[in-house]
């Protein structure tokens, strides 16, 4: 970490402020934005990357895979045999009371068995240095576009910091995602058509939807571009209706199908769920995944890992209090000032109450709310997230709290974890809220290649450079053609000038 920081610090505060301006203008002209309260703004990326060593990444990657594997089995079970309830691992009442447990999803069998095509698992490091899972995102985890763009942005703005590190590439994500989506196509479809469904340009993550469509070379569709007929899904094209076999939908379940969910949704496609049930389109991620990332199910995930995989969890949870137990509820209410209280169905940091930062009024309000609806909330002890050096607006460097969202893609055969991830940073001093919707920024996340310390010795010698290999023949290395010297020929120039002077003298 030291050479990285010293490279940056040698720029000085003024230099860092300048680089910050270059970054901001790059992000705006490239249109790397997210939309907050209707306004499009750049997602600020800090100039200091977060570095993760190869060994630690192995653990993260294995832990994320294990968790997704267990949660896939849990979803298949919950929308199937429900052995997990029968065996008393998770109380039935907890599942049936989850607002994301959708009876409509029952009986939909995904073609290759995958329901979690894309997952984002939020991790934090606690005071003891232990990485813990803070929450699972199994519906429409967003942020991966910034992982790719942050790398290019830093290489543009602070190229010097890369010089001592062998950082693993994040470029292959779109290809992995597309392969996973194609692998999820309904049975018998050899050349599937994949599309991304976006709510439209006003959605906060529209940049990401467009980015992924562009990088995967597939259509970005809105609800009005699609229709269902005869049990199939089509998009309207100039060449007539064209079947869609896999839909990577980036809209929430309740807006997806007005025939099944919100009847007034204009973002979705009427009848799409029946097409999915008939096995003629695959929805990614599957409908009803929210039951597995419900915050009230979260405390049970370590149990689920043991139950389904017979393994010990690699990445532990953060201690979480189930408020439905009256004793626990009264314990939490007594210690609210040291707790974080979260709505189970929420995301984006909305509704969160952080005890030590809350006013007495806020605490008494939340105490009332959780007593009335203990199923709707969870409480966790405040975890002081780890920090990472971060450049402030005035060019000073100071610690700020961070988390990490690694992304994983499941193609049915293998769960692949993108070597990198979105590190979110709370830009306000002391703040623990990193959500971009709450004013958080991001950091490029560098996963170092194994043995990158000995990078120098691994570099190839110049004589091995492949441009000189046998496949290149002389014409390619030939000089580039040049035109006649139009004005630079000295003799011609002199004569032309002379001509002008003579003309001048006679006039």
């Amino acid at each position: 970490m030291l050479p990285l920081l010293s490279n940056l610090l040698s720029l000085g505060s003024a230099g860092l402020v300048d680089r910050g301006k270059i970054r901001d203008s790059y992000l705006s002209t490239q249109g790397i934005t997210f939309t907050l309260s209707g306004k499009e703004r750049p997602l600020s990326v800090d100039l200091v990357p977060r570095v993760i060593h190869a060994g630690e990444w192995e653990i993260i990657s294995a832990g994320v895979k294990q968790r997704i594997k267990a949660l896939e089995l849990f979803l298949a079970d919950v929308y199937g045999e429900q052995g997990v309830i029968r065996d008393g691992v998770v109380p039935r009442q907890l599942i049936t009371s989850s607002e994301h447990f959708l009876r409509e999803a029952y009986g939909i069998h995904p073609a290759n068995g995958v329901r979690i095509h894309v997952a984002g698992i939020d991790l934090i490091r606690d005071e003891a240095g232990q990485l813990r899972v803070l929450e699972d995102n199994l519906r429409c985890p967003s942020g991966v576009s910034y992982v790719l763009e942050n790398r290019r942005t830093l290489a543009h703005v602070v190229p010097e910091i890369f010089s001592n590190f062998q950082v693993r590439s994040v470029e292959e994500y779109p290809e992995h995602l597309l392969n996973a989506l194609r692998a999820a196509a309904p049975d018998g479809v050899v050349e599937p058509t994949v599309a991304i469904l976006t709510p439209g340009i006003h959605n906060s993550a529209h940049f990401e939807h467009a980015f992924l469509a562009r990088r995967m070379g597939i259509e970005l569709v809105e609800g009005r571009d699609l229709f269902c007929k005869g049990g199939y899904l089509y998009m309207r094209t100039t060449g007539g209706p064209m079947p869609v076999h896999v839909l990577y939908r980036r809209i929430d379940d309740e807006y997806l199908d007005p025939m099944q969910f919100k009847p007034d949704s204009i973002l979705g496609v009427p009848g799409i769920l029946n097409v999915a049930r008939a096995g003629n389109v695959t929805l990614a991620n599957a409908v009803g995944n929210g039951v597995a990332d419900d915050k009230a199910i979260y405390p049970y995930v370590p149990k689920l890992i043991r139950y389904y995989l017979d393994e010990e969890p690699i990445l532990p949870n953060v201690e979480t209090f189930d408020l439905q137990d009256p004793d626990v509820l009264s314990h939490v209410k007594k210690n609210l000032a040291e707790m974080v209280v979260k709505p189970v169905a929420g995301s984006g940091g909305y509704g969160l109450v952080i005890g030590p930062k809350a006013t007495a009024q806020e605490l008494s309000d939340i105490s009332k709310v959780i007593s009335e609806n203990p199923r709707g909330w969870i409480a966790q002890p405040v975890v002081n997230l780890s920090t990472c050096p971060t450049v402030l607006a005035d060019g000073e460097v100071a610690p700020r709290h961070i988390d990490l969202r690694p992304f994983a893609v499941n193609d049915g055969k293998e769960i692949w974890v993108l070597p990198g991830g979105l590190t979110r940073v709370a830009l306000v001093e002391g703040s623990l809220v990193v959500n971009s919707s709450q004013g958080g920024g991001s950091k490029d996340t560098w996963v170092l290649a194994d043995g990158s310390e000995s990078k120098r010795s691994k570099k190839r010698e110049i004589k091995e450079i492949s441009i000189e290999s046998e496949t290149i023949e002389v014409p390619v290395l030939a000089d580039r053609e040049v035109g006649p010297e139009v004005l630079t020929s000295t003799r011609l120039k002199q004569q032309e000038e002379q001509q002008q002077q003579e003309l001048g003298s006679t006039c």
């Binding site: 203008s25 290019r152 292959e172 070379g217 570099k459 441009i467 053609e481 035109g483 139009v486 630079t488």
Partner: protein
Amino acid sequence: MLSRLAESFFWMGRYLERCEATTRLLIEHHQLTVQQHTLDDAASGTFLTTLLALDANSSTPADLIASVYGSESDPSTILGTLAATRNNARAIRDAIPGDLYEALNSAYFAGISEVPNPGLPGTVLRAQIHRLAIINGILEWIAPRDSSYDFLQLGRSLERLDLTARLIAAGYDRTWPDQGPVTMLRSVDALGAFVRGQIPLDGPHVRTFLISDRTFPRSIYFCCQTAEAAMRRLKDRDDHIFREIALLRSELEFSNASSAESDQISIVNRTVDVVVKTSLNVSNEFFRPVGSIIWSA
């Protein structure tokens, strides 16, 4: 039209294209080598200077930026092509739209005054791409579609053929297996067009795309087509000037898209050869009529 005018239009097209392509290539090469340390600095510098046929020794990334940005006197460098474009435009100032000359001039003066910081070249180089886009935009908007435009188009197409062939031959995909293929596509701004074809993003497919794609304006096939069309408009009856390029085009038209690497490399080498021959044919046919007297000192 005057042969001299025709020649200047032709070379203006070539230099303009070369300037844009070299700038874009430098941006992407820099992005790649910042992130991937497969080669040491000297080797990755030699890689690019060899591709661009530059006679420069670049042992550090900063040297490389400085050499490729170059000087006004070397028309293989960015600044050199900018100067050469403007010089050609100056010689035909009467025949080109005023707006075009203004845009060329501002690109040229910005080019000499805003030299990229060798440690941080991205911003200046990107601004240059935008200025060149303005020039190309004016040409597309208001340049009369007469012979002058055909000569310009011909120059552009031949230069594109040359650059695309060099890019494929250099072997980014072999030297940087991780990001080389993406870099090749980005260097000609073809990433979006490529991925829409839904084919694997690897060296062989990227090479096939850059050689034979039917719709991408910088593929070898497409450039053969535009060059041939321009020459047909100029002189339809004399097919000897475009015979070489038409043969290459028709070969690509009917060739197997998934040809082997050795076949691809031989097409690339032939392309470079065809560009040289065609350029010479065009020059002999239009710019240096038989019987012109050359005085020697």
